[in-house]
Symmetry: C2
Subunit: 326 residues, 2 copies
Protein backbone atom coordinates (compact mmCIF):
# COMPACT_ATOMS: atom_id res chain seq x y z
CA UNK A 1 0.00 0.00 0.00
CA UNK A 2 0.90 3.67 -0.45
CA UNK A 3 2.41 5.31 2.63
CA UNK A 4 1.77 9.06 2.87
CA UNK A 5 4.50 11.12 1.08
CA UNK A 6 5.33 12.99 4.30
CA UNK A 7 7.33 9.90 5.31
CA UNK A 8 9.55 9.90 2.17
CA UNK A 9 12.18 11.82 4.10
CA UNK A 10 12.24 9.17 6.84
CA UNK A 11 12.61 5.79 5.14
CA UNK A 12 12.98 3.87 8.43
CA UNK A 13 9.70 5.23 9.72
CA UNK A 14 8.06 4.63 6.38
CA UNK A 15 9.22 1.04 6.44
CA UNK A 16 8.01 0.45 9.99
CA UNK A 17 4.63 1.98 9.14
CA UNK A 18 4.35 -0.34 6.17
CA UNK A 19 5.08 -3.30 8.44
CA UNK A 20 2.52 -2.02 10.94
CA UNK A 21 -0.18 -1.92 8.29
CA UNK A 22 0.83 -5.38 7.11
CA UNK A 23 0.39 -6.58 10.68
CA UNK A 24 -3.08 -5.03 10.83
CA UNK A 25 -3.99 -6.71 7.54
CA UNK A 26 -3.01 -10.03 9.07
CA UNK A 27 -4.98 -9.47 12.27
CA UNK A 28 -8.26 -8.24 10.81
CA UNK A 29 -10.21 -11.23 9.68
CA UNK A 30 -13.94 -11.22 9.02
CA UNK A 31 -15.72 -13.95 7.14
CA UNK A 32 -17.92 -11.38 5.40
CA UNK A 33 -15.33 -10.24 2.87
CA UNK A 34 -17.23 -7.14 1.85
CA UNK A 35 -17.15 -5.75 5.38
CA UNK A 36 -13.55 -6.82 5.83
CA UNK A 37 -12.64 -4.97 2.65
CA UNK A 38 -14.47 -1.86 3.85
CA UNK A 39 -12.52 -1.84 7.12
CA UNK A 40 -9.20 -2.50 5.42
CA UNK A 41 -9.98 0.21 2.87
CA UNK A 42 -10.24 2.71 5.71
CA UNK A 43 -6.90 1.53 7.04
CA UNK A 44 -5.29 1.79 3.60
CA UNK A 45 -6.71 5.16 2.70
CA UNK A 46 -3.28 6.79 2.72
CA UNK A 47 -3.70 8.91 5.85
CA UNK A 48 -0.61 10.27 7.57
CA UNK A 49 -0.58 7.48 10.18
CA UNK A 50 0.64 10.02 12.72
CA UNK A 51 -0.50 8.18 15.81
CA UNK A 52 1.23 4.86 15.06
CA UNK A 53 4.27 6.79 13.82
CA UNK A 54 4.61 8.53 17.18
CA UNK A 55 4.23 5.18 18.95
CA UNK A 56 7.03 3.70 16.84
CA UNK A 57 9.28 6.70 17.36
CA UNK A 58 8.77 6.96 21.11
CA UNK A 59 9.38 3.25 21.55
CA UNK A 60 12.99 3.62 20.40
CA UNK A 61 14.24 5.39 23.54
CA UNK A 62 14.02 2.46 25.94
CA UNK A 63 16.62 -0.17 26.54
CA UNK A 64 14.11 -2.99 26.05
CA UNK A 65 12.93 -1.76 22.70
CA UNK A 66 11.70 -4.49 20.38
CA UNK A 67 10.69 -3.35 16.88
CA UNK A 68 8.28 -6.23 16.61
CA UNK A 69 6.47 -5.40 19.82
CA UNK A 70 6.48 -1.69 18.95
CA UNK A 71 4.72 -2.45 15.68
CA UNK A 72 2.06 -4.38 17.60
CA UNK A 73 1.39 -1.45 19.89
CA UNK A 74 1.38 0.94 16.92
CA UNK A 75 -1.10 -1.32 15.12
CA UNK A 76 -3.34 -1.35 18.19
CA UNK A 77 -3.26 2.46 18.35
CA UNK A 78 -4.23 2.82 14.69
CA UNK A 79 -7.01 0.23 15.06
CA UNK A 80 -8.33 1.97 18.16
CA UNK A 81 -8.37 5.23 16.21
CA UNK A 82 -10.19 3.56 13.33
CA UNK A 83 -12.77 1.95 15.64
CA UNK A 84 -13.62 5.32 17.20
CA UNK A 85 -13.88 6.91 13.73
CA UNK A 86 -16.32 4.22 12.60
CA UNK A 87 -18.46 4.80 15.68
CA UNK A 88 -18.18 8.60 15.39
CA UNK A 89 -19.55 8.38 11.86
CA UNK A 90 -22.66 6.64 13.18
CA UNK A 91 -23.27 9.45 15.61
CA UNK A 92 -22.56 12.22 13.13
CA UNK A 93 -24.51 10.38 10.44
CA UNK A 94 -21.46 11.09 8.28
CA UNK A 95 -21.64 10.03 4.66
CA UNK A 96 -17.93 10.09 3.94
CA UNK A 97 -14.69 9.42 5.76
CA UNK A 98 -11.17 9.83 4.39
CA UNK A 99 -12.66 10.66 0.99
CA UNK A 100 -14.53 7.37 0.80
CA UNK A 101 -18.08 6.51 1.67
CA UNK A 102 -18.28 5.87 5.41
CA UNK A 103 -19.02 2.35 6.61
CA UNK A 104 -22.24 3.47 8.26
CA UNK A 105 -23.54 5.08 5.09
CA UNK A 106 -22.45 2.23 2.81
CA UNK A 107 -23.41 -0.77 4.95
CA UNK A 108 -25.76 0.67 7.54
CA UNK A 109 -25.47 1.52 11.20
CA UNK A 110 -25.69 -2.14 12.22
CA UNK A 111 -22.52 -3.09 10.37
CA UNK A 112 -20.79 0.05 11.65
CA UNK A 113 -21.65 -0.70 15.29
CA UNK A 114 -20.36 -4.26 15.12
CA UNK A 115 -17.38 -3.41 12.91
CA UNK A 116 -16.19 -0.90 15.51
CA UNK A 117 -16.82 -3.38 18.33
CA UNK A 118 -14.92 -6.03 16.46
CA UNK A 119 -11.93 -3.73 16.00
CA UNK A 120 -11.90 -3.03 19.74
CA UNK A 121 -11.49 -6.72 20.37
CA UNK A 122 -8.71 -6.91 17.78
CA UNK A 123 -6.97 -4.10 19.68
CA UNK A 124 -7.10 -6.17 22.85
CA UNK A 125 -6.03 -9.32 21.08
CA UNK A 126 -2.96 -7.59 19.68
CA UNK A 127 -2.16 -5.96 23.01
CA UNK A 128 -2.45 -9.19 24.94
CA UNK A 129 -0.33 -11.02 22.38
CA UNK A 130 2.57 -8.58 22.60
CA UNK A 131 2.40 -7.91 26.31
CA UNK A 132 5.07 -9.24 28.60
CA UNK A 133 3.14 -8.48 31.72
CA UNK A 134 -0.44 -7.94 32.73
CA UNK A 135 0.52 -4.39 33.60
CA UNK A 136 1.40 -3.63 29.98
CA UNK A 137 -2.16 -4.42 29.02
CA UNK A 138 -3.58 -2.59 31.96
CA UNK A 139 -1.85 0.64 30.92
CA UNK A 140 -3.32 0.55 27.46
CA UNK A 141 -6.73 -0.38 28.76
CA UNK A 142 -6.76 2.65 31.01
CA UNK A 143 -5.79 4.87 28.12
CA UNK A 144 -8.55 3.48 25.93
CA UNK A 145 -11.01 3.89 28.70
CA UNK A 146 -10.08 7.51 29.17
CA UNK A 147 -10.70 8.13 25.48
CA UNK A 148 -14.12 6.51 25.48
CA UNK A 149 -15.08 7.99 28.82
CA UNK A 150 -14.05 11.34 27.37
CA UNK A 151 -16.54 10.84 24.56
CA UNK A 152 -19.30 10.00 27.01
CA UNK A 153 -18.56 12.86 29.35
CA UNK A 154 -18.40 15.39 26.58
CA UNK A 155 -21.39 14.20 24.65
CA UNK A 156 -23.47 17.00 26.12
CA UNK A 157 -21.06 19.50 24.51
CA UNK A 158 -21.79 18.21 21.05
CA UNK A 159 -24.83 20.35 20.55
CA UNK A 160 -24.14 23.06 23.08
CA UNK A 161 -24.75 26.35 21.32
CA UNK A 162 -22.89 28.65 23.70
CA UNK A 163 -19.75 26.60 23.93
CA UNK A 164 -16.92 28.33 25.76
CA UNK A 165 -13.22 27.98 24.92
CA UNK A 166 -12.94 25.87 28.03
CA UNK A 167 -15.69 23.51 26.80
CA UNK A 168 -13.94 23.36 23.44
CA UNK A 169 -10.59 22.48 25.00
CA UNK A 170 -12.22 19.80 27.16
CA UNK A 171 -13.82 18.36 24.07
CA UNK A 172 -10.72 18.20 21.89
CA UNK A 173 -8.72 16.93 24.82
CA UNK A 174 -11.00 13.92 25.10
CA UNK A 175 -11.34 13.48 21.39
CA UNK A 176 -7.91 14.03 19.90
CA UNK A 177 -5.31 14.77 22.55
CA UNK A 178 -5.88 11.62 24.61
CA UNK A 179 -5.26 9.38 21.63
CA UNK A 180 -2.01 11.17 20.69
CA UNK A 181 -1.01 11.02 24.36
CA UNK A 182 -1.71 7.29 24.50
CA UNK A 183 0.23 6.77 21.26
CA UNK A 184 3.37 8.41 22.68
CA UNK A 185 2.97 6.96 26.16
CA UNK A 186 2.43 3.38 25.12
CA UNK A 187 5.38 3.62 22.73
CA UNK A 188 7.58 4.76 25.61
CA UNK A 189 6.29 2.01 27.89
CA UNK A 190 6.90 -0.61 25.22
CA UNK A 191 10.54 0.46 25.03
CA UNK A 192 10.93 -0.28 28.72
CA UNK A 193 11.32 3.32 29.84
CA UNK A 194 10.57 4.51 33.34
CA UNK A 195 7.07 5.66 34.23
CA UNK A 196 8.38 9.20 34.70
CA UNK A 197 9.88 9.21 31.22
CA UNK A 198 6.67 7.78 29.77
CA UNK A 199 4.65 10.44 31.57
CA UNK A 200 6.69 13.12 29.84
CA UNK A 201 5.92 11.44 26.51
CA UNK A 202 2.26 11.42 27.47
CA UNK A 203 2.29 15.20 27.87
CA UNK A 204 4.15 15.62 24.60
CA UNK A 205 1.46 13.61 22.85
CA UNK A 206 -1.29 15.51 24.57
CA UNK A 207 0.13 18.91 23.54
CA UNK A 208 0.64 17.69 19.98
CA UNK A 209 -2.95 16.47 19.87
CA UNK A 210 -4.33 19.76 21.16
CA UNK A 211 -2.34 21.80 18.65
CA UNK A 212 -3.18 19.38 15.86
CA UNK A 213 -6.93 19.66 16.41
CA UNK A 214 -6.96 23.44 16.79
CA UNK A 215 -5.00 23.78 13.54
CA UNK A 216 -7.42 21.44 11.80
CA UNK A 217 -10.28 23.63 12.96
CA UNK A 218 -8.47 26.80 11.89
CA UNK A 219 -7.76 25.37 8.44
CA UNK A 220 -11.48 24.75 7.99
CA UNK A 221 -11.91 28.53 8.05
CA UNK A 222 -9.15 29.23 5.52
CA UNK A 223 -10.70 27.49 2.55
CA UNK A 224 -11.39 29.70 -0.47
CA UNK A 225 -14.92 30.98 -0.44
CA UNK A 226 -16.20 28.49 -3.03
CA UNK A 227 -14.85 25.57 -1.06
CA UNK A 228 -15.47 27.16 2.25
CA UNK A 229 -18.33 25.94 4.23
CA UNK A 230 -18.29 22.25 3.50
CA UNK A 231 -17.14 21.19 6.99
CA UNK A 232 -17.73 24.53 8.74
CA UNK A 233 -21.15 25.03 7.25
CA UNK A 234 -22.21 21.60 8.49
CA UNK A 235 -20.70 22.26 11.91
CA UNK A 236 -22.36 25.63 12.45
CA UNK A 237 -25.65 24.26 11.19
CA UNK A 238 -25.47 21.66 13.95
CA UNK A 239 -24.36 24.24 16.49
CA UNK A 240 -20.84 22.83 16.76
CA UNK A 241 -18.47 25.76 17.18
CA UNK A 242 -14.71 25.44 17.05
CA UNK A 243 -11.97 27.74 18.33
CA UNK A 244 -11.94 30.42 15.57
CA UNK A 245 -15.67 31.05 15.87
CA UNK A 246 -15.75 30.82 19.67
CA UNK A 247 -13.02 33.44 19.96
CA UNK A 248 -14.82 35.65 17.45
CA UNK A 249 -18.07 35.47 19.34
CA UNK A 250 -16.47 37.13 22.31
CA UNK A 251 -16.96 40.29 20.24
CA UNK A 252 -20.62 41.23 20.27
CA UNK A 253 -22.16 40.88 16.81
CA UNK A 254 -25.92 40.61 16.64
CA UNK A 255 -26.09 39.86 12.95
CA UNK A 256 -23.80 36.84 13.26
CA UNK A 257 -25.54 35.57 16.38
CA UNK A 258 -28.88 35.82 14.60
CA UNK A 259 -27.42 33.91 11.65
CA UNK A 260 -26.12 31.16 13.92
CA UNK A 261 -29.53 30.86 15.58
CA UNK A 262 -30.93 29.72 12.24
CA UNK A 263 -29.26 26.34 12.64
CA UNK A 264 -29.99 24.04 9.73
CA UNK A 265 -31.37 27.01 7.75
CA UNK A 266 -27.91 28.58 7.41
CA UNK A 267 -27.07 29.04 3.72
CA UNK A 268 -23.77 28.99 1.85
CA UNK A 269 -23.94 32.78 1.67
CA UNK A 270 -24.51 33.07 5.43
CA UNK A 271 -21.52 30.79 5.98
CA UNK A 272 -19.37 33.16 3.93
CA UNK A 273 -20.50 36.02 6.13
CA UNK A 274 -19.57 34.00 9.19
CA UNK A 275 -16.21 33.20 7.67
CA UNK A 276 -15.49 36.88 6.97
CA UNK A 277 -16.53 37.77 10.51
CA UNK A 278 -14.23 35.14 11.99
CA UNK A 279 -11.28 36.49 10.00
CA UNK A 280 -12.00 40.18 10.66
CA UNK A 281 -12.81 39.89 14.35
CA UNK A 282 -9.46 38.32 15.17
CA UNK A 283 -10.87 34.87 15.99
CA UNK A 284 -8.49 33.26 13.52
CA UNK A 285 -5.36 34.80 14.96
CA UNK A 286 -6.43 34.04 18.52
CA UNK A 287 -7.02 30.40 17.63
CA UNK A 288 -3.68 30.28 15.83
CA UNK A 289 -1.83 31.62 18.82
CA UNK A 290 -3.53 29.10 21.07
CA UNK A 291 -2.28 26.33 18.76
CA UNK A 292 1.18 27.88 18.85
CA UNK A 293 1.15 27.81 22.62
CA UNK A 294 0.53 24.05 22.62
CA UNK A 295 3.12 23.54 19.90
CA UNK A 296 5.75 25.37 21.93
CA UNK A 297 4.91 23.30 24.99
CA UNK A 298 5.29 20.10 22.99
CA UNK A 299 8.58 21.20 21.41
CA UNK A 300 10.00 22.28 24.75
CA UNK A 301 9.41 18.82 26.20
CA UNK A 302 10.69 17.15 23.02
CA UNK A 303 13.94 19.13 23.30
CA UNK A 304 14.68 17.37 26.57
CA UNK A 305 14.48 13.87 25.11
CA UNK A 306 17.77 11.98 24.72
CA UNK A 307 19.63 13.08 21.58
CA UNK A 308 18.95 10.37 19.06
CA UNK A 309 18.09 10.22 15.39
CA UNK A 310 14.49 9.52 16.37
CA UNK A 311 14.31 12.58 18.61
CA UNK A 312 15.31 14.64 15.58
CA UNK A 313 12.53 13.04 13.51
CA UNK A 314 9.96 13.65 16.26
CA UNK A 315 11.04 17.28 16.39
CA UNK A 316 10.89 17.74 12.62
CA UNK A 317 7.53 16.11 12.02
CA UNK A 318 5.97 17.87 15.00
CA UNK A 319 7.21 21.24 13.70
CA UNK A 320 5.97 20.54 10.20
CA UNK A 321 2.66 19.26 11.42
CA UNK A 322 1.94 22.06 13.79
CA UNK A 323 3.26 24.87 11.62
CA UNK A 324 1.37 23.84 8.49
CA UNK A 325 0.01 26.80 6.54
CA UNK A 326 0.18 29.16 9.47
Amino acid sequence: MQIHPMWELYPEVKNELRETIALIDKEVFIRNKEIEAAILDMLHSGGKLLRPAYTLLFSTFGKDHSPERARSVAAAIELLHTATLIHDDIIDDASSRRKKQSIQSKYGKDVAVYAGDYLFTVVFRILSKQANTVEDISINTKGMERILMGELNQMHLRYKKDMSIRDYLTQISGKTAQLFALACYSGAIEGGNSKAFARNCYYIGSHIGMAFQIIDDVLDYTQSSENFGKPVLEDVRQGIYTAPLIFSLRKENREIKALLEMGSQITQKDAQKIQRFVHESGGMSEAKSMAEKYTRKALKRISKLPDTKEKQIIKEITEKLLMREM
Copy 2:
Protein backbone atom coordinates in the same frame (compact mmCIF):
# COMPACT_ATOMS: atom_id res chain seq x y z
CA MET B 1 -30.36 -4.69 45.04
CA GLN B 2 -32.92 -7.40 44.43
CA ILE B 3 -31.46 -10.69 43.20
CA HIS B 4 -33.86 -12.77 41.08
CA PRO B 5 -35.99 -15.15 43.23
CA MET B 6 -34.69 -18.19 41.33
CA TRP B 7 -31.55 -17.92 43.51
CA GLU B 8 -33.44 -18.11 46.84
CA LEU B 9 -32.80 -21.83 46.94
CA TYR B 10 -29.06 -21.29 46.57
CA PRO B 11 -28.02 -18.67 49.12
CA GLU B 12 -24.29 -19.01 48.37
CA VAL B 13 -24.83 -18.27 44.70
CA LYS B 14 -27.20 -15.45 45.57
CA ASN B 15 -24.60 -13.94 47.83
CA GLU B 16 -21.85 -14.21 45.23
CA LEU B 17 -24.10 -12.65 42.60
CA ARG B 18 -24.81 -9.77 44.94
CA GLU B 19 -21.08 -9.27 45.42
CA THR B 20 -20.55 -9.44 41.67
CA ILE B 21 -23.08 -6.67 41.10
CA ALA B 22 -21.48 -4.63 43.88
CA LEU B 23 -18.16 -5.01 42.09
CA ILE B 24 -19.71 -3.81 38.84
CA ASP B 25 -21.18 -0.80 40.63
CA LYS B 26 -17.71 0.08 41.85
CA GLU B 27 -16.11 -0.31 38.43
CA VAL B 28 -18.60 1.63 36.33
CA PHE B 29 -17.84 5.29 36.71
CA ILE B 30 -19.04 7.98 34.33
CA ARG B 31 -18.99 11.64 35.14
CA ASN B 32 -22.34 12.13 33.45
CA LYS B 33 -24.44 10.72 36.29
CA GLU B 34 -27.58 10.40 34.20
CA ILE B 35 -25.90 8.04 31.77
CA GLU B 36 -24.17 6.19 34.59
CA ALA B 37 -27.54 5.68 36.26
CA ALA B 38 -29.05 4.40 33.01
CA ILE B 39 -26.30 1.81 32.65
CA LEU B 40 -26.49 0.73 36.29
CA ASP B 41 -30.28 0.54 36.01
CA MET B 42 -29.86 -2.03 33.27
CA LEU B 43 -27.50 -3.99 35.47
CA HIS B 44 -29.89 -3.81 38.42
CA SER B 45 -33.02 -4.68 36.53
CA GLY B 46 -33.42 -7.97 38.36
CA GLY B 47 -32.58 -10.30 35.50
CA LYS B 48 -31.64 -13.89 36.27
CA LEU B 49 -27.90 -13.19 36.00
CA LEU B 50 -27.47 -16.63 34.49
CA ARG B 51 -24.22 -15.96 32.69
CA PRO B 52 -22.27 -14.66 35.72
CA ALA B 53 -23.87 -17.39 37.86
CA TYR B 54 -22.49 -20.08 35.56
CA THR B 55 -19.08 -18.41 35.65
CA LEU B 56 -19.12 -18.44 39.45
CA LEU B 57 -20.28 -22.03 39.62
CA PHE B 58 -17.80 -23.37 37.08
CA SER B 59 -14.93 -21.58 38.80
CA THR B 60 -15.35 -23.71 41.92
CA PHE B 61 -13.98 -26.92 40.41
CA GLY B 62 -10.35 -25.88 40.10
CA LYS B 63 -7.68 -26.16 42.74
CA ASP B 64 -6.67 -22.50 42.28
CA HIS B 65 -10.15 -21.15 42.76
CA SER B 66 -10.30 -17.66 44.23
CA PRO B 67 -13.80 -16.32 44.95
CA GLU B 68 -12.57 -12.78 44.47
CA ARG B 69 -11.09 -13.44 41.06
CA ALA B 70 -14.15 -15.48 40.06
CA ARG B 71 -16.39 -12.51 40.86
CA SER B 72 -14.22 -10.32 38.63
CA VAL B 73 -14.58 -12.70 35.72
CA ALA B 74 -18.32 -13.02 36.38
CA ALA B 75 -18.62 -9.22 36.44
CA ALA B 76 -16.77 -8.99 33.14
CA ILE B 77 -19.13 -11.55 31.57
CA GLU B 78 -22.23 -9.65 32.71
CA LEU B 79 -20.79 -6.33 31.50
CA LEU B 80 -19.91 -7.84 28.16
CA HIS B 81 -23.47 -9.12 27.88
CA THR B 82 -24.83 -5.69 28.78
CA ALA B 83 -22.57 -3.91 26.28
CA THR B 84 -23.79 -6.15 23.48
CA LEU B 85 -27.42 -5.60 24.51
CA ILE B 86 -26.95 -1.82 24.41
CA HIS B 87 -25.47 -2.05 20.92
CA ASP B 88 -28.11 -4.56 19.78
CA ASP B 89 -30.81 -2.09 20.77
CA ILE B 90 -29.31 0.52 18.47
CA ILE B 91 -29.46 -1.87 15.58
CA ASP B 92 -32.95 -3.11 16.33
CA ASP B 93 -34.11 0.42 17.11
CA ALA B 94 -35.59 -1.15 20.25
CA SER B 95 -37.57 1.13 22.51
CA SER B 96 -37.44 -1.06 25.61
CA ARG B 97 -35.06 -3.49 27.25
CA ARG B 98 -35.67 -5.48 30.40
CA LYS B 99 -38.99 -3.66 30.85
CA LYS B 100 -37.32 -0.24 30.92
CA GLN B 101 -36.79 2.26 28.18
CA SER B 102 -33.67 1.29 26.25
CA ILE B 103 -30.62 3.55 26.46
CA GLN B 104 -30.75 4.28 22.75
CA SER B 105 -34.37 5.37 22.88
CA LYS B 106 -33.98 7.41 26.07
CA TYR B 107 -30.63 9.09 25.40
CA GLY B 108 -30.13 8.66 21.68
CA LYS B 109 -27.95 6.46 19.56
CA ASP B 110 -24.85 8.54 20.32
CA VAL B 111 -24.98 7.81 24.04
CA ALA B 112 -25.76 4.16 23.34
CA VAL B 113 -22.77 3.73 21.02
CA TYR B 114 -20.31 5.22 23.50
CA ALA B 115 -21.94 3.63 26.56
CA GLY B 116 -21.45 0.19 24.99
CA ASP B 117 -17.88 1.07 23.98
CA TYR B 118 -17.16 2.28 27.48
CA LEU B 119 -18.45 -0.96 28.99
CA PHE B 120 -16.16 -2.95 26.68
CA THR B 121 -13.19 -1.10 28.13
CA VAL B 122 -14.46 -1.75 31.66
CA VAL B 123 -14.58 -5.45 30.75
CA PHE B 124 -10.91 -5.32 29.78
CA ARG B 125 -9.95 -3.27 32.82
CA ILE B 126 -11.54 -5.84 35.11
CA LEU B 127 -10.02 -8.74 33.22
CA SER B 128 -6.54 -7.27 33.25
CA LYS B 129 -6.81 -6.45 36.97
CA GLN B 130 -7.71 -9.98 37.98
CA ALA B 131 -5.49 -11.83 35.55
CA ASN B 132 -2.44 -13.65 36.79
CA THR B 133 -1.02 -14.12 33.36
CA VAL B 134 -1.30 -12.53 29.96
CA GLU B 135 -2.77 -15.80 28.77
CA ASP B 136 -5.77 -15.40 31.08
CA ILE B 137 -6.63 -12.16 29.31
CA SER B 138 -5.92 -13.61 25.93
CA ILE B 139 -8.45 -16.39 26.47
CA ASN B 140 -11.22 -13.98 27.33
CA THR B 141 -10.31 -11.68 24.48
CA LYS B 142 -10.62 -14.51 22.01
CA GLY B 143 -14.03 -15.38 23.41
CA MET B 144 -15.25 -11.81 23.12
CA GLU B 145 -13.94 -11.60 19.64
CA ARG B 146 -15.77 -14.72 18.62
CA ILE B 147 -19.01 -13.22 19.92
CA LEU B 148 -18.60 -9.94 18.07
CA MET B 149 -17.31 -11.61 14.95
CA GLY B 150 -20.36 -13.85 15.15
CA GLU B 151 -22.57 -10.76 15.06
CA LEU B 152 -20.74 -9.42 12.03
CA ASN B 153 -20.75 -12.68 10.14
CA GLN B 154 -24.42 -13.29 10.76
CA MET B 155 -25.65 -9.81 10.11
CA HIS B 156 -26.79 -10.84 6.65
CA LEU B 157 -29.12 -13.38 8.28
CA ARG B 158 -30.99 -10.68 10.17
CA TYR B 159 -33.31 -9.86 7.34
CA LYS B 160 -33.14 -13.06 5.38
CA LYS B 161 -36.68 -14.05 4.58
CA ASP B 162 -36.09 -17.68 3.73
CA MET B 163 -34.00 -18.52 6.73
CA SER B 164 -33.26 -22.22 7.12
CA ILE B 165 -32.94 -24.04 10.44
CA ARG B 166 -29.24 -24.15 9.76
CA ASP B 167 -29.10 -20.34 9.37
CA TYR B 168 -31.12 -20.03 12.56
CA LEU B 169 -28.77 -22.27 14.51
CA THR B 170 -25.75 -20.38 13.21
CA GLN B 171 -27.35 -17.15 14.31
CA ILE B 172 -28.26 -18.20 17.85
CA SER B 173 -24.91 -19.88 18.21
CA GLY B 174 -23.14 -16.56 17.59
CA LYS B 175 -25.63 -14.54 19.57
CA THR B 176 -26.46 -16.55 22.67
CA ALA B 177 -24.51 -19.78 22.84
CA GLN B 178 -21.05 -18.22 22.55
CA LEU B 179 -21.64 -16.00 25.54
CA PHE B 180 -22.89 -18.87 27.71
CA ALA B 181 -19.93 -20.92 26.51
CA LEU B 182 -17.50 -18.14 27.40
CA ALA B 183 -19.17 -17.74 30.82
CA CYS B 184 -18.61 -21.41 31.68
CA TYR B 185 -15.19 -21.65 30.05
CA SER B 186 -13.72 -18.57 31.69
CA GLY B 187 -15.05 -19.68 35.07
CA ALA B 188 -13.29 -23.02 34.64
CA ILE B 189 -10.06 -21.34 33.54
CA GLU B 190 -10.19 -18.98 36.50
CA GLY B 191 -10.36 -21.96 38.84
CA GLY B 192 -7.10 -23.24 37.40
CA ASN B 193 -8.56 -26.24 35.62
CA SER B 194 -6.92 -27.94 32.68
CA LYS B 195 -7.67 -26.75 29.16
CA ALA B 196 -9.40 -30.07 28.46
CA PHE B 197 -11.66 -29.62 31.46
CA ALA B 198 -12.41 -26.04 30.46
CA ARG B 199 -13.21 -27.16 26.93
CA ASN B 200 -15.83 -29.51 28.31
CA CYS B 201 -17.31 -26.57 30.24
CA TYR B 202 -17.29 -24.56 27.02
CA TYR B 203 -19.45 -27.18 25.32
CA ILE B 204 -21.78 -27.35 28.31
CA GLY B 205 -22.26 -23.58 28.10
CA SER B 206 -22.76 -23.70 24.37
CA HIS B 207 -25.45 -26.40 24.60
CA ILE B 208 -27.17 -24.50 27.43
CA GLY B 209 -27.13 -21.32 25.35
CA MET B 210 -28.60 -23.06 22.31
CA ALA B 211 -31.40 -24.65 24.32
CA PHE B 212 -32.02 -21.41 26.21
CA GLN B 213 -32.52 -19.37 23.04
CA ILE B 214 -34.70 -21.92 21.30
CA ILE B 215 -36.93 -22.10 24.40
CA ASP B 216 -37.15 -18.32 24.50
CA ASP B 217 -38.25 -18.32 20.90
CA VAL B 218 -40.78 -21.12 21.54
CA LEU B 219 -42.22 -19.24 24.52
CA ASP B 220 -42.85 -16.24 22.28
CA TYR B 221 -45.36 -18.40 20.42
CA THR B 222 -47.17 -19.62 23.55
CA GLN B 223 -48.48 -16.26 24.74
CA SER B 224 -52.26 -15.99 24.98
CA SER B 225 -53.71 -14.50 21.85
CA GLU B 226 -54.20 -11.02 23.34
CA ASN B 227 -50.61 -10.85 24.43
CA PHE B 228 -49.37 -12.83 21.53
CA GLY B 229 -47.68 -10.99 18.81
CA LYS B 230 -45.78 -8.34 20.70
CA PRO B 231 -42.36 -9.87 20.10
CA VAL B 232 -43.34 -12.31 17.37
CA LEU B 233 -45.40 -9.79 15.48
CA GLU B 234 -42.44 -7.42 15.37
CA ASP B 235 -40.11 -10.22 14.36
CA VAL B 236 -42.24 -11.52 11.50
CA ARG B 237 -42.87 -7.97 10.31
CA GLN B 238 -39.12 -7.55 9.95
CA GLY B 239 -38.76 -10.96 8.37
CA ILE B 240 -36.97 -12.46 11.34
CA TYR B 241 -38.12 -16.04 11.70
CA THR B 242 -37.29 -18.25 14.66
CA ALA B 243 -37.35 -22.04 15.07
CA PRO B 244 -41.11 -22.64 15.52
CA LEU B 245 -42.02 -20.74 12.36
CA ILE B 246 -39.10 -22.06 10.32
CA PHE B 247 -40.10 -25.65 11.11
CA SER B 248 -43.73 -24.86 10.28
CA LEU B 249 -42.84 -23.39 6.94
CA ARG B 250 -41.47 -26.71 5.80
CA LYS B 251 -45.14 -27.55 5.30
CA GLU B 252 -46.45 -25.81 2.22
CA ASN B 253 -49.01 -23.15 3.13
CA ARG B 254 -49.68 -20.46 0.57
CA GLU B 255 -51.90 -18.37 2.78
CA ILE B 256 -49.28 -18.07 5.52
CA LYS B 257 -46.50 -17.40 3.02
CA ALA B 258 -48.59 -14.66 1.45
CA LEU B 259 -49.20 -13.18 4.90
CA LEU B 260 -45.51 -13.21 5.69
CA GLU B 261 -44.76 -11.48 2.41
CA MET B 262 -46.69 -8.47 3.67
CA GLY B 263 -43.86 -7.55 6.02
CA SER B 264 -44.62 -4.42 7.99
CA GLN B 265 -48.28 -4.62 6.87
CA ILE B 266 -48.89 -7.74 8.98
CA THR B 267 -51.73 -7.07 11.44
CA GLN B 268 -52.42 -8.42 14.91
CA LYS B 269 -55.06 -10.67 13.38
CA ASP B 270 -52.63 -12.02 10.80
CA ALA B 271 -50.18 -12.72 13.59
CA GLN B 272 -52.81 -14.81 15.35
CA LYS B 273 -53.30 -16.78 12.16
CA ILE B 274 -49.57 -17.36 11.98
CA GLN B 275 -49.52 -18.42 15.61
CA ARG B 276 -52.30 -20.93 15.05
CA PHE B 277 -50.50 -22.28 11.99
CA VAL B 278 -47.27 -22.71 13.91
CA HIS B 279 -49.06 -24.68 16.62
CA GLU B 280 -51.12 -26.83 14.26
CA SER B 281 -48.41 -27.64 11.76
CA GLY B 282 -46.14 -29.13 14.39
CA GLY B 283 -43.54 -26.35 14.31
CA MET B 284 -43.82 -25.89 18.05
CA SER B 285 -43.21 -29.49 18.91
CA GLU B 286 -40.31 -29.76 16.48
CA ALA B 287 -38.67 -26.68 18.02
CA LYS B 288 -39.26 -28.05 21.49
CA SER B 289 -37.63 -31.33 20.68
CA MET B 290 -34.65 -29.51 19.20
CA ALA B 291 -34.28 -27.63 22.50
CA GLU B 292 -34.58 -30.91 24.37
CA LYS B 293 -31.78 -32.37 22.30
CA TYR B 294 -29.42 -29.57 23.36
CA THR B 295 -30.60 -29.83 26.96
CA ARG B 296 -29.83 -33.54 27.02
CA LYS B 297 -26.39 -32.89 25.57
CA ALA B 298 -25.66 -30.29 28.24
CA LEU B 299 -26.92 -32.51 31.08
CA LYS B 300 -24.91 -35.47 29.85
CA ARG B 301 -21.70 -33.46 30.00
CA ILE B 302 -22.69 -31.96 33.36
CA SER B 303 -23.19 -35.43 34.80
CA LYS B 304 -19.51 -36.12 34.24
CA LEU B 305 -18.32 -33.16 36.31
CA PRO B 306 -16.74 -33.94 39.71
CA ASP B 307 -19.40 -34.60 42.35
CA THR B 308 -19.61 -31.37 44.31
CA LYS B 309 -22.35 -29.24 45.76
CA GLU B 310 -21.87 -26.82 42.85
CA LYS B 311 -22.26 -29.60 40.28
CA GLN B 312 -25.64 -30.32 41.82
CA ILE B 313 -26.63 -26.65 41.57
CA ILE B 314 -25.49 -26.49 37.94
CA LYS B 315 -27.57 -29.57 37.20
CA GLU B 316 -30.66 -28.24 38.97
CA ILE B 317 -30.68 -24.76 37.48
CA THR B 318 -29.94 -26.09 34.01
CA GLU B 319 -32.84 -28.52 34.27
CA LYS B 320 -35.20 -25.83 35.55
CA LEU B 321 -34.10 -23.35 32.97
CA LEU B 322 -34.33 -25.65 30.04
CA MET B 323 -37.51 -27.42 31.08
CA ARG B 324 -39.47 -24.25 31.82
CA GLU B 325 -43.07 -24.44 30.70
CA MET B 326 -42.46 -27.24 28.28
